[in-house]
Each structure stands twice: as C-alpha cells, then as structure tokens.
C-alpha cells in the first residue's frame, strides 16, 4: 500500500472518529440515560385537561419491575399485531386507535385504583402518553408511562409473552 493510499484511509478514519466523538459528546446525557435504563424525557405535549395532575409520570425499567411486583398492570398501547408478536407478561392490549370502542370493557375489568404501566414501541413513541392521559381522564389515579416500551424490555432479556390478549 503506497503512502498516498495509507494517508487517505487514515484521514477517513479520523473523519469517522471525530464525527462519532462529536455525536457522543453532544448526546452523552441521552446515551447515559439509555444505558442506565432511564429513557428519553417525555415528549413535550400538554395534558388534554390542562392540569399538571393529568400528566402521567414516566418510569424506567427498574421501576416497572417494582410496580409489577406490587401488582401493577401493564397496558399495551400498540396495535394488535405488535401485541401478538410480543408483549410484557400479563399485559392488557388497549390500542390507542381503538380506545374509544374498548375503554368501556377496560373499565369493567380494571379497578380505578389499579397501578397502570402504559407502554408502546419505545424510541419516543407518543401513543403511551396519549393513552395514559386518556386513562387519567377516565378516572384512573395511578397511571405511569414506561418510555423504553417493549423494545427496551425485550432487549434487556426480560420475559416476553406472545399471542392474543
């Protein structure tokens, strides 16, 4: 390999390294949160009722496990196909798109003081927040949002259930 080729490859490696370092330094807080199991901050959207109390609290992976141990109910806001392919064990499928038709049945089965852990597809998906806000408006008092959602749960090697609800 002659000197010129070696120099081009070396400079290309410097460009890649420098670009990666800029990205890592600018987003280090997000990455530290992700690796620590605390995901991105909630999307900035106002609660539908306009009160602070109507906004659900975000929880991370460790808190989800604690809440599940305390009898919390996972609520899956994704579509039925995604739910069927894999979901948190014991999760209730309540797709955001179908909430108007299915909320009556949900209310008949789930008490208002149940701890609800609402999740969707992670990576900043807003469906869990939208569904959680709707559930708070329905009178549920203990509503949390698991921002990492199903992808973080699955990739952290936690047990996954499959099939219909």
């Amino acid at each position: 390999m002659n000197r010129q080729v070696r120099r081009i490859i070396l400079e290309a490696a410097v460009i890649v390294t420098l670009g990666a370092l800029i990205g890592l330094s600018l987003h280090h807080r997000l990455l530290l949160d992700v690796f620590a199991g605390r995901t991105a901050s909630p999307p900035a959207r106002p609660a539908t009722t306009g009160t602070v109390a109507a906004y659900p609290s975000p929880v991370d992976l460790a808190e989800v496990e604690e809440l599940l141990a305390a009898g919390g109910l996972p609520v899956d806001a994704r579509n039925p196909e995604s739910f069927q392919a894999g979901h948190l064990p014991g999760a209730y499928s309540l797709p955001l798109a179908d909430v108007s038709e299915e909320i009556g049945s949900f209310r008949n089965k789930v008490y208002l003081d149940t701890i609800l852990i609402v999740y969707c597809g992670g990576y900043g998906c807003a469906d869990s927040f939208d569904l959680a806000i709707r559930l708070i408006a329905e009178g549920y008092r203990e509503v949390r949002v698991y921002e990492g959602g199903f992808p973080e749960w699955r990739d952290a090697n936690r047990s996954v259930a499959k099939g219909e609800r």
Partner: protein, 139 residues
C-alpha cells in the same frame, strides 16, 4: 483537466456533500426517532440503536461538510462511499428478510421503501466514486 471534467467534479462533490450534510442534520435533530428507524432493521439491541443514531448523523455532516468546503475531498468521499455501501447492504438484507420498513435515510419524516432507497444509494455511490476518481486526476 478539461473544463467539462472540472465542472462534473464540482457538481458531484457539492451534490454528494450537500445531500449527506442535509441527511445528517435532519437526523441529528431527533436522535430518539432516528434510533427507532434504525431499530426497524433489527440489527442492534435497544441501547446500541441509540449509539448509532447519536453518532452516524455527525459523521455524515462532517464528511458532507468537508466535501462542500472542498477540503479533504478523497478521505471524505471514501467515508461517504463506505457509508453508502453499508446502507445498501442493510437495505438489501432488510428487503431480503421481507421487512416492510421505511428507509430512515432522511429521518423519520420521509418514507422510502428499501428498494427505492437502494436505487438512490446506488446513485450516491456513483457520485462518491466520480468525486474520488476526478479529485485524483486533478491532484
């Protein structure tokens, strides 16, 4: 070097650099959404999708910016050509696995099927080769 060749070189250089700078910029604006786009390819685990999403846009912007600025042209063209090849392999395997996903090349807002994105990447790869080769002739 004749004038046509010189004009072709500058056109390809600015186009390739501009496209990658733009693509990197809009993805850097929403790293979390871009991590979701990468996750659709089912290559990396949850946390590593965020690492790829946090770094890739800045490599694209840096190399693209260098091309537009006409600095370190051959190394920058090599980086962008290499990235384009990696993207093409990713898109081809996604298409082969029957994954019905958006390319994610320009962030979450612009939907492109894997096959359409493959065609576009082939053009970008050609631009990178032209820039690399013509810069060598000018040196």
């Amino acid at each position: 070097v004749n004038r046509v060749e010189k004009a072709l070189y500058h056109l390809c250089r600015v186009t390739l650099g501009g496209v990658f700078f733009y693509a990197g910029f809009i993805k850097a604006m929403d790293v979390t959404a871009f991590a979701g786009e990468i996750s659709n390819y089912e290559f990396l685990s949850y946390s590593w999708n965020f690492v790829a999403a946090a770094t890739l846009p800045y490599v694209e912007m840096l190399a693209g910016g260098l091309l537009v600025a006409n600095a370190r042209v051959r190394p920058a063209a090599l980086v962008l050509g290499g990235l384009t090849l990696v993207f093409m392999v990713a898109l081809a395997t996604a298409a082969a696995r029957g994954l019905d996903i958006d390319c994610g090349c320009f962030g979450a807002g612009v939907a492109t099927t894997p096959l359409a994105a493959l065609g576009r990447d082939a053009v970008l790869l050609l631009l990178a080769v032209i820039v690399f080769a013509l810069r060598g002739r000018q040196a």
